[in-house]
């Protein structure tokens, strides 16, 4: 059976009584949709081991910024994920951030720069006919455009901005100083020619003058265009500067994050090789450079395998003092020597298909309070989980005895406990052997069906078999029944809440179970 709601963890691990109603609702296919919401509410408590938080947008956007950083892009994906996990992001948030990270070739900054370059070069082309100097200006934008393919560093932005400013000013100056005087000279020449040829070319003069005037106008228009272009350039430069500032602030934030990341990595870092045994967690033994190191620069892990021995890494906190012989052995390993006390041991199984021996006793009945309401249906009635290895029960073993102090503490503890303790009694100094924590009766012999139970979790229940407190023969005789019982019990615990227990369970115990279940239900 499947859940209809989207955070759909299988609720078959729910063995609370509440699950009964959820299960029933599910099996009614038509009603499933209607009670979907109800069932969701009822079954969500069952799957507490799943994240049910919604995706937090702020976390995702931070993660996207982190992932867009060029240095982060160079690191292996698993380290990026590990970093984000350590920052507390859930799987869904991390996946969403990975989905959102843009393609490296289309990041915003080089694109905008490219556009500016194109705009400049097009405006310069207009004025290129009468003026030849804008060529260097055209070169500069195209040169900048060629940067698009490379990594965009901030100093590129600065130099681009500077180039643009310089070329703009240069163009303006050139126009003022060179072009206009040339124009003036040219106009004067034309005027002189006019005077000389006035008599001859009276008709031509006006046209010449007109042409000159037109040319002057065109030149003036061109000059104004150039002025406009340079003005635009200045504006775009300002805009670029602004964007650059924004980008710088983002970069700063990311640099901070990268720093913290590298710090934490460094703390873990200096770690050993793939074949070295790493006491990476806490030993502060400084292993010399010949041994393995892990450097996390740029998110890459370099693992150098030099030795077969183990090397350890500095812990984050202070170093625990190592035994002297430990240091000696580490140094020996670093020198390449092998400690002399190692011998060749063949620990391979002589017969890999050796069947396991039949178990002598079935698993002990150990009562775990209230928890066993679901699973401890397997309370064995006869309750001789007292299969002692020893025969002399006349004197209780030394490990059973507790001193008075402990009993007092126990009583205090008892007071604090909220749940019922079921069968436990603490007052008597050798406490009864009725014990503690019990999982359900399992099959003594592992059968394929048991493995099935793992592979196909929602297995169908099979026959119930009474689990006798078995002598050796019996356990061998009922392997399949016991296995089936396991499945049945597991299923029961999931679905029914362990209410139907038959046979083999003493009424006293089942009453206890009921009581525990009730109390558990209250919890």
């Amino acid at each position: 059976m499947t859940m209809t709601q989207s955070p759909s963890p299988p609720n078959s691990n729910d063995d609370k009584p509440q699950a009964v109603s959820a299960e029933v609702a599910q099996e009614a296919n038509q009603a499933q949709q209607d009670v979907g919401a109800e069932a969701a509410k009822q079954s969500v408590p069952a799957s507490v081991f799943v994240n049910s938080e919604p995706i937090r947008e702020d976390q995702v956007s931070n993660a996207v910024k982190f992932l867009s950083h060029p240095k982060v892009r160079g690191s292996p994906v698993i380290y990026r994920r590990s970093f984000l996990e350590r920052k507390g992001l859930t799987k869904e948030e991390i996946d969403e951030a990975f989905r959102r990270v843009p393609d490296p070739t289309s990041s915003s900054k080089p694109a905008s720069l490219n556009q500016d370059g194109q705009a400049k070069s097009s405006s310069n082309v207009q004025t290129q006919a009468p003026i030849q100097t804008p060529q260097p200006v055209a070169v500069a934008p195209t040169g900048i455009a060629s940067l698009e393919g490379r990594q965009f560093h901030w100093y590129h932005a600065v130099s681009a901005v500077g180039l643009l400013a310089a070329s703009g000013c240069g163009t303006a100056l050139l126009i003022k100083k060179v072009i206009i005087p040339k124009l003036k000279l040219w106009v004067r020449k034309v005027v002189l020619e006019e005077e000389n040829d006035y008599a001859k070319k009276i008709d031509a003069k006006p046209s010449l003058a007109e042409e000159a005037a037109a040319a002057a106008k065109a030149a003036a228009a061109a000059a104004s265009d150039v002025a406009k272009a340079s003005q635009e350039m200045l504006n775009s430069k300002n805009e670029e500067r602004r964007r650059f500032e924004e980008f710088m602030s983002l970069m700063d934030a990311q640099v901070q994050e990268m720093k913290s990341m590298s710090n934490s990595i460094r703390k873990l870092g200096g770690q050993a090789s793939s074949s070295g045994r790493v006491f990476s967690d806490h030993d502060d033994h400084r292993v010399s450079a010949s041994s393995t190191k892990q450097s996390y620069a740029n998110g890459k892990v370099d693992v150098n395998v030099q030795l077969e021995g183990r090397s350890s890494t500095p812990p984050a906190s202070a170093e625990p003092p190592h035994p002297k012989s430990y240091m000696e052995i580490m140094e020996m390993i670093q020198r390449g020597e092998k400690p002399s006390n190692i011998r060749e041991v063949n620990d391979m199984p002589p017969n890999p298909n050796q069947p396991l021996s039949n178990p002598l006793i079935a698993p002990r009945t150990k009562v775990l309070q209230s928890q066993t309401s679901a699973e401890g249906l397997n309370q064995n009635g006869q309750d001789d989980g007292l299969n002692y290895l020893l025969d002399d029960e006349s004197s209780t073993p030394w490990w059973q005895r507790k001193n008075v102090r402990i009993t007092e503490i126990e009583n205090e503890d008892e007071v604090k406990d909220t749940g019922p303790y079921g069968v436990r009694t603490n007052e008597q100094p050798p406490p009864p052997i009725q014990r503690t924590w019990v999982p359900p009766r399992p099959p003594p012999v592992a059968m394929p069906e048991a493995a099935e139970a793992i592979r196909r979790p929602k297995s169908t229940p099979k026959e119930t078999a009474t689990q006798e407190q078995s002598a050796d023969g019996q356990s061998a005789a009922h392997p399949s029944e016991v296995t089936d019982e396991l499945q049945r019990i597991t299923k029961m615990s999931e679905s029914v809440g362990a209410l139907e227990m038959n046979g083999g369970f003493s009424t006293g115990n089942s009453a206890v179970i009921q009581e525990q279940e009730n109390s558990y239900g209250e919890n």
Binding site: P10, S82, I329, V345, K366, W398, D413, T418, T436
Partner: protein, 317 residues
């Protein structure tokens, strides 16, 4: 209280779920850096405070963890530093052991946990960043859970939900998984440093404790995992292993590189309720008996295994 001396440095100790007086100890030579390993199965003598060795198995590489089968009283699994796991059956003659060698991990297997509910499967946590699910009857793993970015140090089955488990990793996160789901269902970025151990509360299946290199133990409720329920400080160095009591709801035990074993009650303001400093080297393994209330065991790099009752001094005879 009895003491057992191991020839190699201790790494892990586990009580048998079948026999009150039986324990398994994982040891590794040369502090686990390089060398052989050995698994000891030891018995407490009921009348006198003496520990006897039932049998020991040698391995080619150090043994980092050991777990008893919940289905067979004589079967135990050992996590070996060469990436394999060995299955031993103490009811078979020694020359028939190990009965299985399960080798799939690319790096050291650091943690093991046997499913106490289904009783037929177990998990292995490895330094190759993955967790694998196994059963005794199949030579290959059933599932591989690969999401951690660094070594997985510890796995723990949820005591109530048979398909849910948690893994603690050096990537500073604890992940909750469901074997029926392809990926992890929850990520708890519990500490700023590596998380070495995790364990579920045996009475409240939503509470999980994590122990970290940052010397603290934090208790989390998975229903509200952004903020810890409680933070237990008091250890002087990294906390190596923690275990919730199967008998007390609020009690948990921890062992640390500060050579002490501490008892905590996390619902109380002054959480530290007991401290045992019997070890003279790193205390790396600790366990509480499921069958006997208050019985605890610890082992450390000082090659000693102590078994004592809570409230008593482990070093008294």
């Amino acid at each position: 209280m009895p003491v057992f001396k191991t020839p190699f440095n201790g790494y892990s100790v586990r009580f048998s779920p079948f026999y009150e007086s039986r324990l398994a100890v994982a040891t590794a030579q040369n502090f686990g850096i390089l060398g052989n390993g050995r698994v000891h199965v030891i018995d407490l003598s009921p009348s006198s405070p003496v520990i006897n060795e039932l049998i020991a198995f040698d391995t080619a590489d150090g043994v980092y963890d050991v777990a008893w089968s919940e289905s067979h009283d004589s079967v135990l699994v050992a996590a070996v530093a060469d990436g394999s796991m060995k299955v031993y059956d103490t009811a078979l003659p020694p020359q028939a052991n190990p009965v299985r060698s399960l080798k799939e991990h690319a790096r050291e297997v650091h943690g093991l946990d046997y499913n106490p509910t289904r009783r037929d499967s177990f998990l292995s946590a490895s330094w190759d960043d993955s967790v694998k699910l196994w059963t005794l009857d199949r030579p290959a793993s059933l599932r591989t859970f690969r999401e951690h970015a660094y070594c997985v140090y510890s796995v723990a089955w949820n005591p109530k939900h048979a398909d849910v488990f948690a893994s603690a990793s050096g990537d500073c996160t604890v992940r909750i998984w469901d074997v029926r789901e392809p990926g992890s269902t929850m990520i708890i970025p519990g500490h700023e440093h590596e998380i070495l151990s995790c364990d579920w509360n045996k009475y409240d299946e939503c509470l999980i404790a994590t122990a970290s290199v940052d010397k603290s133990i934090k208790i989390w409720d998975v229903r509200n995992y952004r903020v810890p329920v409680s933070a237990l400080n008091g250890h002087g160095y990294a906390v190596r292993k923690i275990k919730f009591s199967p008998h007390r709801r609020n009690l948990l035990v921890s062992c640390s590189y500060d050579m002490t074993v501490c008892l905590w009650d996390f619902m109380v303001e002054d959480a530290l309720v007991g401290r045992y400093d019997h070890h003279t080297e790193f205390a790396v393994g600790v366990d509480l008996s499921v069958l006997v209330d208050g019985l605890m065991a610890s082992t450390g790099w000082d090659e000693l295994v102590y078994v004592w009752q809570q409230g008593m001094d482990p070093r008294t005879a």
